[in-house]
Amino acid sequence: MAKVLVVDDEANIVLSLEFLMQQAGFQVDTAEDGESALSRIAESPPDLVLLDISLPGISGFDVLERLRGDPAHARLPIIMLTAHGREVEREKGLALGADDYITKPFSTQALVEKVKTLLAEVS
């Protein structure tokens, strides 16, 4: 069973994503901030990451950059899921190596589809 790591500091959003992913048949792990996300990934690598940008401590962009800089996670599918809707931020996320950039609020169906597609591509 594929494992999805949800990184967000909004409890209710984590709650909704957790529910959605479980419903879609994935195992779910959660992290509230960037540092704990990185350590979660190191402990038990997920198959996909849903990553917020505005996080306490290091930002989602930092997490993304570090993961892409590490050969072990260079191909780990990462979806940025963020309330930062400006085009420059979107471009930055994609340039840093995110597989997709989805703006909040999002369509739950579209998100689940996207996660499924990405996981299928990898395997």
């Binding site: 959003i13 909704s16 930062h84 809707g85 909040k104 609020p105 999002f106 739950t108």
Partner: protein, 916 residues
Amino acid sequence: MRSSVVVLTVAFGYLALLFVIAAWGDRRAEQGRSLIGSPTVYALSIAVYCTAWTFYGSVGRAAQYGPSFLLIYLGPTLAMLMAPFVIRKMVRIASAQRITSIADFISARYGKSSSLGALVALIALIGITPYIALQLKAITVSHAVLVNYPQAAELRLADESFWADKSFWVALVLAVFIILFGTRHLDASERHEGMVAAIAFESLVKLVAFLSVGVFTVFVLFNGPAELFARVVAAPELTRLMSLEAVPGGALGWVGMLVLAFLAFLTLPRQFQVLVVENVDERHLKRASWLFPLYLLVINLFVIPIALAGLLLGDVSGDPDSFVLTLPLSAGLEGLPLLVFIGGLSAATGMMIVETIALSTMVSNQLVMPLLLRSRHLHLSTRGELAGWLLRIRRVAILLILLLGYLYHALIGDAYSLVTIGLVSFAAACQFAPALLVGMYWRGANRLGAGVGMSAGFLIWAWTLLIPGFAQSGWLEAGFLDQGPWGLAWLRPYALFGLEGWDIYTHSLLWSLTANLGLLVGISLFTRQSPLEQTQAALFTEAMHPGLVQTTLWQGQTTRGELRALLDRYLGGAATARVFATHPDEAADDSQPAPPGLTARAEQALAGSLGSASARVLIDSVVRGEALNLESILSILDTTSETLEVNRRLEQKSSELAHASEELRAANERLRELDRLKDEFVAMVSHELRTPLTSIRAFAEILRDSDDLPDEKRRHFLDVVVRESQRLSRLIEEILDLARLESGRLTLEPQRLDLVALARHSVDAVHRPQENRGVTLEVEITPETAMVIGDPDRLEQVIINLLDNAGKFAADDDPRVLLRLERYKDHYRLAVEDNGPGIAEDERERVFEKFHQIQRQEGGEARGRPRGSGLGLPISRGIVAHLGGRLWVEQAPRLGGACLVMELPEAPAEKLKAES
């Protein structure tokens, strides 16, 4: 040992040394490495003011009249203090007009008038001759004292034939020396750099010599000033000298002497020469204006001690005028008296050199040349080389001036003391002051007024000072001194118009200057100026005008060839080449017309040698047409003024423009910054709105799409949707508040309210939710009531916000919050403390920034505490500020965490409000 031979050898050696210095100075000047390009040399050259009269006479006067001699030096000190206003202008004019002497200056000011120049030269010649005589007398007497001591140096001048009189030979030797010294150049220009260098050197020599005697007297003859003054105090007749009452003429005498010295310092021909004509750089005045007074102070330091010492020692010292010599002689010294003699010699020769050169320049330029140029018989204009003539005239003049000095010396003899003779000359020089000074500042002063005024002043001077001197020497029947001529008592020289009881100088000065000045002003007011005079008057009075072209511009025409021939004849080839080099024109040959600038330049060069009046005549003889008249000059001046005014306005305009564009730029910058802040704000707002919206949409979709959701979960999710919707509304409300606050459209309804009641009410509102989260809320209110002006709803919003925040940031274990309300001066302070981690010093202001969220190390939400929007504190601060209060963060004094303090001014008493 003190044989005449030794003394003469030393004296001649000294003169030779001077000559070498002068030659060296001239050489350096030719090489363009001027020796005198220093303000110190300039200041030292001005010290030619201190003549033999200072060197010997000051002690003499101090021995007779106490400290009054100092006035002679206070006058020049005063003049130097005013140098930036008066002397600077004189220097500026003189350098622009190539002025050669004070006679030339006055002549140039009054329309380059030959007659006025001649009058000044004549007065100078007659007035200064006694002064030269004085120097001759000083040299002869000091020589006699040196050689004959301890026998008295009796001089019976009139009894001997002139060839047996040493002063005659001194005059002759000096004449030769000065001729070699001052007229070595073929180029008879107005400046003498070598002479100035030598004079500066002489000033050092006399200073050293005088200080040596002073030190010797005070510290060797007497064991320091203490012993000297102790012995003076013991001699009652000497203490009188120490007081200020010994001045002849009393208080009026003081004033008279001060004015006399002040004016003479500016008008004595030699002072004008070194101060104005020889000045190479206007900026030198700055240092000279304090260095020269300092020199005067130093050289006068020992005058009174020497005078007192001489009087104490009695017979051995002889005549007070010779104390400086007799004191070291009486101690049996050999070297020091010789040094003193050289010092006196340097003081005398310095004066004679400069004075004679200045006078000879006047005689040649103002008296002889104009006559020669007018005399048709000489056909001067058709003769060849004339530069040599000029020098020959000057050499003869030098010889005659010195012989005239000798003659006066021989005739008047011992009738007057050194000081008396000096003051007589001072008073003569003062007659130039009205024409000189008034002419520099009043454009209306004219030639006739100057001429008549000066003549009258001179006649009164002669009657009240010069002629009495002759009478006292026995050359005239002295009876008229007491009874007046032909028995006319009101014409008595020392009591003119019945003015009795004044000292003779103040008396003479008063009448002569009154007549001089009165006639100058009176006649000038009622007579007219010639066009050239108007031009010159304008150039002189407006000399400091920045836009002024200080030359007469010629409208007439002449050829380069004619001009060249003229200059060649009067100045010689080298000087002519220098003039033409200023207007190089390859194409022009001698048949071409000379440009006006070249003509003006040629006139200047001629003026530098011949004086302005003669130069004018000569240029007139070759130029066909008129010089620019007053109207043109004035229109140039006016144009310059207008141009300056227009420039000034333009500058003002452009600086205004620059200012405006700078303001625009800054405004633009501010707008840009505001725009950026607005963008940022919109981005932050949208980010903050998206967050609750995300939860709402996600759960709404989940609820829609998941039919098989257990009831419990469904309720939970719906609950989230409701709470997030509330959060969204709250957020929107806050954003609107903030927008209103920032645009100033927030409507507050201020009223008198009791902060105590309001605080309790707020505490009640948050009490339950806080308690639910385990927060202990304490309240500590000291005042009974706390009346402030405020909007109760808004203030409650602020207090609740503070309590909420405190609850959120209180410690996890046993969270505690404390609300305190107390009076502070005429304010009330409401503080909300928590026992959380507190806020770092550098974070304390940032918590008031919009959307700033304090990061908690451990997530707060997990503990069931709601997230803030990051707008509560900025809004609170805005509200408090609107009510005239303040809101800030500090360290909590009681609970140790953060403490937010709201301070509001106490409301004015109700009674007052009711009255108004």
